[in-house]
Symmetry: D3
Subunit: 341 residues, 6 copies
């Protein structure tokens, strides 16, 4: 397994961080985070295009691609304070979902086994199966909880005659034992899928799914607090899966199955930040960015910032565990310039 | 009057529900809801394109077009628990507004007279006049109140030398006696139209119009509660008119006269849901979706979900009147999976 | 200095207000407001296109271009109750930033010196330097505070080898003494720029910058109240600078450096309204609208409404200073039609 | 009848030529050409948007809007060597085709009666009826032949229950006697409309229609030569009607009813040039530019150049009638710089 | 095998022709042509989106969807003079290319075996393999020649580890014996793929490939005449495969792998017409229309007309075999209206 | 002068060729061709965006970015048979045209002095001045002729108060003596600029400019033959400057100043091929690709192929000078597969 580079277009890295080659362990030894592209969209049920997600998300930023991004809010540099490498894309072919699953799982497992957090850029949500499995193989089946932001439950049974696709990874993960059903937290669901049968199965697994109605009624913060408590109950790590369609189509038009009525971009960024700051995150994936439908690249930009928020919060979490930054732990009410002069 | 089918493009139905033919009463006998397309945009003062609204709204969904949409939030299926039929489009010609008005009114009246709720897909807002008149002819002039979501009051006097157009239907409705001025509730108004004269006329009619400033200051929920109380005071039914431009242009760019500063998609869906759940709705229209300006079809998708929210809430209202679903009436704080297993 | 007219396309005015010619003082004598286009985008670090901003913002409205816009919310007509003139565009050439700066400053100073409030339509944010300098030259260096809505601090030192560009105007303004650092209020900052060095310089200047995290934690209204108090402390006027990218990319995709997680359009309009109603505004600029990236013109429409909100609020502030409208001062909770009949 | 200005957006003129007011004959006395906008698209059978054609065509040029355009090819300035005025737009309302027809005919007749050539910017092709009628009323019914570039014959009988619309103007013109059927030359027809009945009627009128198959087989030049000979046989003038959809959709995507397989932009420009140079043109119209569907404004740019080619060729025709330019009549093989030094 | 309907969106038919169900032979008994959608894009190497091709091509027409299209050029109605049915889409899943191939081949074979000509709407070019195999299974392996319009040879060996994909169908067809290599005619190749090895293999098969350089040098008509002669030499039928990217990207932007320098839309239509008029066509496919990249739907419109040209020419070929239309065989130089009156 | 990398976005190379660093001569020693990005658009008079041209052109290809492109037509690999390196972008800042000119000239001169052919990717046409000057400084002022494909002469005097910009480089080149006026060949001019004065100056310089009218009348091939003869008369090398707007807007919409009526993409590619095959080309530039206006990336794709045609033809010219490929010199009529087996 040598470095594949980018499948679609030039071989670039996330905002200019250093390359690594999964075939050469020296290149990512000691990394805190390894970015991996999974440009697979053969599992989409409707609009394709997520294959171009990794490349779009890697570069959707107007600043120099210099491997550094100091966060105004968190006072750390998620790319420079952590050791971050980009392994390029896993070769995946839309027409062959089985091979894609196997290759992605293998690549993710390598990363996780090295001690780094894999940050996987989809691709459609099919890749959550091999991604979270690769993570769980290292940390232990049933020892990693799932925090899943999405408009859709992705717990389908068989679709188009297949077990795999972007509507089913969460079911397969639970069935395989990789993730416990009662440590599966879903945030942002809405709309008209799935039907009662599948919801019944989900309930039987004791999943906890926050539909937007509940989120609006109770407040997102309250729901997250509850979910986070479940996530760390008898689990060693948390896998964060962000389907960009959890955001409202106004904020994320460039996706395959847009469902109106979602989170604002601001809410999504804050929720991801909080998750990565408060929880022991061991894997991150950002999926379903479909550039062909993305006006002015705003969806790719949002996904790029989701990654940066995650990395910044992980860095701050670690810094605060070591005593804080500038002598204090993170306080969201602290004015930007206070203590800077 | 035989089935017109679709004027622009193939003859499809709303998400695959069964066809009916207004010329053949048997085809919609016993229907709870009949969908009707009114692809007229000859009344637009600026960007046209709403003629393609009915077709766009009917199909703006990534799920199978199978005539079923189980609502996660409301635990009913608005398309399957109700008897829903689609009568196709009324033939309307942009260049002849008078004939369009007459034909739409006749078609709506047929539907209302059959006992079904007409759900009319515009087209520009001109069609509110024949739509609400068709409804009122059945339920009684002055017996149906109007709940009108819009950025604009649509109470113009004469424009471009004409009495009819998308800026004037609400005035014509009140003048004709179809709808009482003091049972006319407007939500979401903003911007710079109309001027003092027309506002004066509106005040004289004792209309109640909630401009966004008041909505922000008081909260949308509070305003809706007040408006709903007026709507059912000495009226037998409520006509719900949703101009998609009540949503902010970020959430609904594909419309003719976008006015910044509107509701979010989430707010609109929740408001429609609440209206159809709490009020005795007898007519619904969703207008001003202009596909030529709609990036990634997000406006059409929002309108599609407005229709589904309305139908789902109507279905749930009826179910709760019969004793509830799973033994209880609707509770927005109920977790998605509770009681599902 | 004669009237330049429009650099790009036909010579039009903001929504049809009367023309004036800065070379002929008679044409704007007694004006309350003079609109000026500054179609310069040679200072952009990433996406260009803001050169077409002035023309797009002037006409992004579906109503007649008749020089009148009665505000529903404020019950004044910002274009007709004030004397508003449009001086056309300053000739600027993207390739020569120095000349552009000089010409814009000169034109703005002329307007300010006449007693009118200059409303400058960018162009990229580079123009804040000559704009605010032109204002300060008239009102006194250090006598005008800055209220700056933006995703970015724009306080860079040297970029691409240059002192000037859209990332540096705020630093140059403070260095030149035109604006005091401790009367510099920034609202809406977020993201990953600038780094610690520049933030340190900002802190040393005693700037007050509200990053989105603080805004979310405390609430926008609370932050504004605090900022407004600083703005009028020992200053005679306030310069309002609105970079449209302070709004979320979902609401303002058509801009050069979109940063996810910003204000909604509604929040921006309300904040601008409040600023112009509560503060003694002496200059306004709206910048960074980049039409090539603007789907369905929604960003230009938002900027157009930012201008109208500013003018309407200025008009209402003056009216209320004279005793109010219809006998009372502005109340955001007042129903639209109350007192209209 | 006073100057209407522009219906949609600011009141601009074609590339900055002087305004005139049809209500004030002094303003266009002695004009050679008067440009008139006819922003009517209520006659479209499919995609609307041509209402924005006049404004788009007037400004679709990257050069300064200064009322001058020296033609490289023809060595004349179609805007400056002729006296060209722009009368703004006729107020037309999409919903009322009858009034639109009457108002356009009246305005065109005024122009023709003044001795100027009306150059009408559509709008959809419906306007050919009042335009050519207005011209024929001045020059004499039956005395003006028609040279009609189009993908479609536009000779429909009754459509959508109406006599008028963009598929029928040519039939109405012949029926009314304004244009003789045997002096009706159509170039560029193709596709699948109309059917045998209408074609039979056309043959009975002795129209001469060049379908693309014949054009490809014989060559465009040969067909034009033949058509031109008919056009001037026992007629005093030629009316030139250019539907932009005569060009291939690759060259003119922004139109209502695009039919693949048309002329290239180059062919269209050369054909228009030749027509206006060789024939006694008394009226020109360019229609069916639909900006909502126009990527990068290339269709509007093509239409703008069609107008300029027409005016340049008219100017050169007149110059050559007076002895030529630089001592010689136009020669397409003359190198650009020959005789310039 | 029952009627699948449309996979993506509503179940429509090609321009409104009657439906048939491949599971019910009665529904297509006696059909001359059966249209079949193959919405598979799992074989694309770059831009996906061709899955939406069948639906886009079926409806990309501004005329009524009434199952009739009288050809101006050919004086027949390809939809009404032939018995044309639409079988809907074959269910195909992007992630499983093997099943897609099998299902498409089976469906095509059913059609061919019924005596009808299958007209298959892709989908990506992968489908040429099952399509042509399905045809050849009925007519005899080696008895059907291939006329292949494309920018690319599609003769790749193994790509992304697979034998199947849109770059390889032509190799698989020859290897399988379905089509003889020396009866494989390719028109429109250009660009930089494949390399010498694959070209060597092609030469060994005695394929005849017309690259654009040869086409420009010799003329398209001359090349076609030569190719047609080979096609009917010792073969019983011709399979026509049109990859829309054979057209220049200016005429067909909406495709997956656009290669500049191709045919014009006009050339493509004329070539298809000539092929279907002169050759015994037994199968037709039109592939690689990718709606997400298609501005103003011009690529889908071109593909729609490719189908209509094919059907019209087939109809005219049959009519001329029976003695002609209006007493004569087709003559491209015949004026449109001659003999119509 | 170290490697700048890419100014806008990631540091990639043309289709994956090897990097070089102009600051390190070893990295390009022996190169035949060095690609250089000049992402400057501060000289544009209308639409900007060409700053993103270099990155867009480098990657606008659906094939693997592997540094190899075997030409079907020319039977050579322009990237692999030549030694091609990519030096990244020259840092240029839109707001400072003088520095941009100096830096580009210096970089180009370094490349030319090394013996390699600089292939410069613009940027706007301003860069022709430093590019051709850098080339001429090495080969001798007056010793390099210019072959200039463009819609515009680019021979303006002073514009916007400046000597430099994208409308003036050709004048500055002649004035400076870098290029002789009588060895300046322009192909494809059209439209309405410049006026008589500038044309007079051009004639005085004895430039030879082929306007489209002459090209259509005489045929492009004939004009090129004549131009090529002039180009090599008493000159040692030819500089090829391709403004993508020489192509028709239908083929190249993504450019700053589109002028209808241009060459087809096919014509442009063939002309570039012929020029580089027949002439001793010493410099190449491809400019004015403006991605913000480029639908489906077709303009960038065309520019990418212009570069590849140039490199392929240069390679074939060299191969044929050495005896040909497969024993013969290039013959455009040779069938693709002949001699391949």
């Amino acid at each position: 397994m040598t470095r594949y580079g980018a499948m679609f277009g030039p071989d670039i890295t996330f905002l200019g961080v250093e390359r690594c080659d999964l075939g050469d362990p020296e290149t990512y030894r000691g990394a805190d985070v390894v970015v991996l592209g999974a440009p697979f969209d053969g599992g989409t049920s409707h609009r394709p295009g997520a294959r171009f997600g990794p490349q779009a998300v890697r570069q959707a930023c107007y600043l120099g691609h210099d491997g550094s991004r100091p966060s105004l809010a968190l006072r750390v540099d998620g790319l420079a304070d952590l050791v971050v490498r980009d392994a390029g894309d896993v070769e995946t072919y839309a027409g062959d979902i089985e091979t894609a699953l196997a290759n992605i799982e293998e690549a993710v497992h390598k990363i996780a086994a090295s001690g780094a957090i894999p940050v996987v850029l989809g691709g459609d949500h099919t890749i959550a199966l091999p991604d979270a499995r690769g993570v769980a193989r290292h940390h232990g089946f049933g020892r990693v909880s799932m925090l899943h932001f999405d408009a859709h439950a992705d717990t389908g049974e068989i679709e188009f005659g297949h077990l795999h696709g972007h509507g089913q990874p969460m079911r397969r993960l639970i069935e395989s034992g990789a993730i416990r059903g009662d440590r599966f937290l879903q945030v942002g669901l809405r709309g008209y899928w799935p039907g009662p049968d599948i919801l019944g199965w989900m309930a039987e697994q004791r999943m906890r799914s926050y539909e937007m109605t509940e989120i609006v009624a109770r407040g997102l913060e309250d729901c997250l607090t509850e979910a986070f408590a479940i996530a760390v109950d008898d689990c060693d790590g948390v896998h964060l899966s962000v389907d960009i369609d959890v955001a409202d189509p106004g904020h994320a038009p460039g996706t395959g199955t847009p469902e109106p009525g979602g989170l604002t971009g601001r809410q999504l960024l804050d929720a991801v930040r909080r998750a990565c700051y408060e929880l022991p995150v061991v894997g991150v994936e950002v999926v379903e960015v479909a550039p062909p439908y993305d006006h002015a690249d705003i969806t790719a930009a949002l996904a790029n910032r989701v990654v940066l928020e995650a990395l910044s919060a992980i860095a701050r979490r670690r810094a605060d565990a070591r005593g804080g930054v500038e002598g204090r732990v993170w306080d969201p009410r602290l004015p930007l310039l206070e203590g800077r002069g």
